[in-house]
Symmetry: C2
Subunit: 212 residues, 2 copies
Amino acid sequence: MYKENYPSRLLADAVDAINMLPGVGRRSALRLALHLLRQPQENVHHFTSAINSLRDEVKYCRICRMISDDEVCSVCSDLSRDRNTICVVESVRDVMSIENTGQYHGLYHVLGGIISPINGVGPSDLTIRELVARVEALCGLEDIERDKIEVILALSGDVEGETTSFYIYRQLEKFGVKVSSLARGLGFGDDLEYADELTLGRSIANRQIFRP
Amino acid sequence: MYKENYPSRLLADAVDAINMLPGVGRRSALRLALHLLRQPQENVHHFTSAINSLRDEVKYCRICRMISDDEVCSVCSDLSRDRNTICVVESVRDVMSIENTGQYHGLYHVLGGIISPINGVGPSDLTIRELVARVEALCGLEDIERDKIEVILALSGDVEGETTSFYIYRQLEKFGVKVSSLARGLGFGDDLEYADELTLGRSIANRQIFRP
């Protein structure tokens, strides 16, 4: 029998690497490794270089921190969108989910995480300072009334999401802008990522003023 | 909404590439791509280079065509194994499965596929010629009697497996060596009630003397 069950160190290394992906067990990792081994070399190189390019070359929009191919993302540079509404989300995936509902026409702000003392994530690890600066800059524009500016806190309904919403609310309070949160059509503790589009779309349409 | 649902061409390309893996849908591919995007750059490079190394550097044993780190694999170079028995299998995965049983102590021969006219795979696409040469060389050794040499055809029980077994059998017939195939019958612990009729029929036809 093989040492550690693999006939080749290279195969064992590849299985170890693929096994690190979430939701991929060792058996699936072996199946995927052997599949890749059977593919033409250029296909495998295309596969790995697409992943390397994503990790190495992707840009983050300098306004909303969404991933983007350019300095400013396609949402932020779309002049037909409502520039006085900013939807604050945890991740890139959440922006994609909300865009897929077709219900929202404002801009976004990607926090890049959520306040979570257990995981060692504090406010300064997120893009909250940048959000505050965006709102401050909006308020400074001459032709805008402050009650026309709205920040939608579209974070998960769990304790960490509520904590983060509350923290951001306190940061924005002084500007006198409208701060809303998603309607709780979402079940308590539901992740945005797994919500169906109808529920998520309604949650945006029925968003309510944030009252802590 | 995003063009083609992706905020970045790099992300779309990575999802396309990951989506090519067997059993990975577009939703899972997106989840994996965003996971990789969140990992430290060196982890992603480790992941892709493990896969590139596997594809680019893996060797195939020059005797049995099993994947190997060396010219000759660990099974073929293990002098304690029975060198007069060759187990013919379709793939690398099959060798690993049989090794995991711990029941087999002979050598292997990996065909690299199965005869399948529908998929355009003929005998010359497999390592059948190499198998015949191995058996011929074994027969040429002075100290071996031909009925001590055995080739086990361990191929699938479907039409393509049976066709390939028959083709190989005809190629080896002239050497007068023993050619066997895997026992077909009920799985260990299977209920008669749930067995398909073909399997049950063969289990009856190939019944063995009961030796408690």
